[in-house]
Each structure stands twice: as C-alpha cells, then as structure tokens.
C-alpha cells in the first residue's frame, strides 16, 4: 500500500522531470536552429502542463502523508518530492524565459557564433538528467558529484558575461541582442542551481544529512 504510493510518487516525478528536460532542450535547440514553432510550444503548451503537474504532485504528497503517516525515509521521500516538484516547476519557468528570448533572437542575425551557450545548455541538461537519476537510484554519490559541476556552469556564465560586455562596449547595436543572450545564460545558470537543490534533497532523502546552504568545498 505504502510502497505502491511511493512508486507512484517517483513515477510522477520522473514524468515531470522528463517534460522539463524537453522544454529546455527545445528552447536551446530552437535558438540554435531558429525554430519558432518549438519555441512557441514551450511557452504556450508545455508551461501550463508544468503548473498542473506541480499542483497534482502536491496533492499526491499530501495524501500520502495523511493516509500512511510515513516515517523516517518514507517521510523524507514525501517531503522532498514535494520540494523537487516545485523546483521543477521553476525550471519550467526558466525554460520559458529562455524560449522567449530565443524567439526575439531568431529574427535577428547572430551577434557571435553560438559556442558557449550550447555548451552551458549541455552541461545544465546533463545535470538535470543526472540529478533525477540520482533520485531514481537513490544514489547520493552521484548527487554529490552533480553538485560539483555547478562550478563549471558558473564559470561558463562568467565567461559569456565578460565576452558580451566586451562586445557591447565595442558595438552598441549589439546591446539588445546581447542582453537577451545574457538572460538566456542567466536562466540556464538558475536551472543548474535548481538541479543542485534537487541533489541536496536526494542526499537528505537517502542519508538524512542536510548539506544545504554550505560552502561548496567538500
């Protein structure tokens, strides 16, 4: 009874995460390949789905706690899944932001060849995928490792920032486009942060240890 409920919870969360992954992929790909339809899909179709999913996951966690009075790890699973689902919903919002900026940029010529943003997107999406894997497998080692990759993402964001600053100071006509690119990189960085949140939740869930709000040097 309780086990079935937990299985259901995990299944729903995985489905939610898969949706969000696709949203990010579509947004970045849409930017790269200038595909307006997929960008619009993210904004109009996918985002409402994430909202609905967050609400239903909340109800699922609440009913699991009310009906089964879970203890120890089972309780941590219920609580953390609720948090993860709200993190996933925020990731969805960030993906929408990326899509919106991408929509603007599809109409315009490139400011510079897209190298770092796709790289950033690749690392970020892998972080999200692996954080969900660590949840499914209850693998706290993987979760810790994913948290470390956040540094890479931060470094990439800083690199993009400094490059674009140089560009903007040289040629003011690139400012609007650069700002959108900055917005995209900022949102990707936030998605990576939220993935580390998920990993911290997984570590709490599996080990009962809280590693939040600590410096990233361990």
């Amino acid at each position: 009874m309780l086990e079935e409920k937990i299985t259901e919870l995990k299944r729903e969360l995985i489905g939610f995460a898969t949706l969000v992954e696709r949203m990010i992929e579509k947004s970045v790909k849409g930017l790269h390949e200038k595909k307006r339809e997929s960008l619009l899909e993210v904004i109009e179709k996918d985002e409402p789905k994430t909202n609905a999913l967050e609400i239903s996951m909340d109800a699922l966690c609440a009913s699991m706690i009310a009906q089964f009075e879970p203890k120890a790890k089972d309780l941590r699973i219920a609580l953390m899944v609720a948090k993860m689902s709200s993190d996933l919903e925020r990731m969805g919002d960030h993906a929408v932001n990326i899509a919106e900026s991408a929509l603007f940029l599809t109409e315009k010529p490139l400011v510079k060849p897209l190298v770092d943003i796709p790289k950033m997107a690749e690392v970020t999406i892998k972080m999200l995928k692996d954080s969900i894997s660590s949840f499914i497998e209850e693998n706290s080692k993987l979760a810790k490792e994913v948290c470390e990759r956040d540094n890479t993402v931060d470094e990439l964001k800083d690199k993009i920032l400094s490059e674009l600053i140089t560009l903007m100071s040289q040629d003011p006509s690139t400012i609007e486009r650069s700002l959108h690119l900055l917005r995209i990189s900022g949102n990707l960085e936030r998605i990576a942060d939220l993935s580390t949140n998920i990993c911290e939740d997984v570590i709490y869930m599996t080990e009962g240890k809280v590693i939040k709000h600590q410096s990233k040097n361990w």
């Binding site: 109800a59 009906q67 009075e69």
Partner: protein, 252 residues
C-alpha cells in the same frame, strides 16, 4: 470508473422509537475497500448490520429505505440468502468452540445442511484458508479444535469461514480492535490482497487504519452520513467541517 455493487437509498434504522440512522445514501464500489468511520455510537455498526440484515434480529428493530445489491433490494429477499451473499467478521474472533479448524471453515455448509463431497470440502477448506493467509500455519492441524490458535489466527479463521461461502461482499466489524499490532498488520495486508476478489466494507474507529487501507471512506456522525469520498481526498481536504474536526481529534 468503478462499478457500484451496493446502493444504500434513503436508509434509516431504528431501535423501537430510537432512530439510529437517518436517511443514509451511499454507493459502495465493487472490489474496493470502503471504510466506515465515526465516533462510538454513531451508527456505523448498525449500518453494516443492516446490510446483512442482522439488525432485524434485535427485537423492536425497524428499518426504512432500500439497500440494493446489483439492483435487487436486499429487504425483499430472504434474509438467509442475503447473509450467504454478504459475509461478516466480528470484532472479537468467534470460531465455533466445539468444532475443529476444518469444520469451522466449512461450517457455513455443514450447519446449513448443504451436502458436498469430501474432495470438494477439502478444496474449499484449503482455498479459504489460503485466501485468509492461514493455510501454512494450520495445514497440519486441521482436525484440532480452533481454540489453541492465537487471537490473530482465530480472526483469520473467521475470515476463512466467511470466505468459504464465496460472498460478494465481506463486512468487517472492527476486525482488529481486539488484536495486537502485529496481528493487526497481518490482517491489514490480508485485506489489501482480498479486495482484488471481494468487495470489502470495514467499520473502524481507528482513523489511521481507515486512512491506510481504504479506497473510499464514509464518515458517519450521530446517525448521519456526513461525508463520503475517496480516501485520498477525505484525509487531506475533507469537505465538511465536522469531518475536519473528527480527523483532527476535536471529538470522538
């Protein structure tokens, strides 16, 4: 969508002039566990006793309204037939003390004078004890009297006895309130298995138990059906204020 096996329509029950149930309307889903919860004396036991027509055995008992099993009114059927289609397990385990375990299981046939061959009897005994998760523990002692069994085992024997009649619905009247936690857990697991084959209606005053094992829950208070819905919703977002108060321990 679940199909409905039992419909209770505008049903009221009385002991003489004392009204115990007031206008209850309820549809019980087939092959699911429906819990009936409420504080002591609210009428929940009376309700299930009306379903298998045991209520009318008390002098001055009266009922009004209908209870339909697959669209047939139970109150226009022969009560004996009703009780063979709807089995009951009581709060305190009550195996027949003068009979062996074997005879207890087929008591429904034996006492009714229904003749069946030895092979068929053996099959029914084995099948029922297996369904009640008791076979392994008693298969070498079938011809001993049931009194040496523990409380939990006796209760499972009573469940086997009821199941042997192949009822469509099994009524459980606080089946674990006289048992220790381990035996209670056994029976709850058993219920989760049984519901795949039999519709189960369980009366309990233990809110946590109702929440754990039921698919649907009805809350009865002072003879009235206050709320009825899926257990998922009932225990997180009850609709009626009285349900909310009962669940948070304000009374009962």
């Amino acid at each position: 969508m679940e199909s409905t096996i039992l419909t209770i329509e505008d049903f009221s029950a009385y002991f003489g002039t004392n009204q115990v149930l007031n206008n209850v309307n309820l549809s019980v889903a087939q092959k699911k566990v429906t819990a009936i919860m409420g504080p002591s004396g609210c009428g929940k036991t009376t309700l299930i006793r009306c379903i298998n027509r045991m209520h009318e055995l008390v002098p001055a008992a009266q009922v009004s309204g209908r209870i339909l099993l697959h669209d047939k009114n139970l109150y226009s059927m022969n009560p004996i037939i009703v009780r063979r289609k709807i089995g009951m397990v009581f709060q305190k385990p009550n195996p027949f003390p003068t009979m062996s375990i074997y005879d207890n299981v087929i008591a429904g046939y034996k006492l009714n004078g229904i003749r069946i061959g030895k092979r068929e009897k053996d099959e029914i005994v084995e099948e029922s004890l297996k369904r009640a998760a008791l076979w392994g523990e008693v298969k070498d002692n079938l011809h001993r009297k049931g009194t040496f069994l523990s409380g939990g085992q006796q209760q499972r024997l009573c469940i086997a006895r009821a199941l042997a009649m192949h009822p469509e619905i099994l009524l459980l009247d606080e089946p674990t309130s006289a048992l220790d936690p381990k035996a209670t857990a056994h029976i709850e697991e058993l219920i989760a298995e049984l519901k795949k084959q039999v519709t189960i209606i369980i009366v309990t005053h233990n809110i946590a138990q109702a929440a754990r094992i039921s698919d649907f829950t009805a809350f009865i208070y002072l003879g009235e059906l206050v709320e009825y819905g899926t257990s998922e919703k009932m225990f997180t977002v009850p609709k009626d204020k009285r349900t909310e108060e009962y669940l948070t321990g304000k009374f009962g």
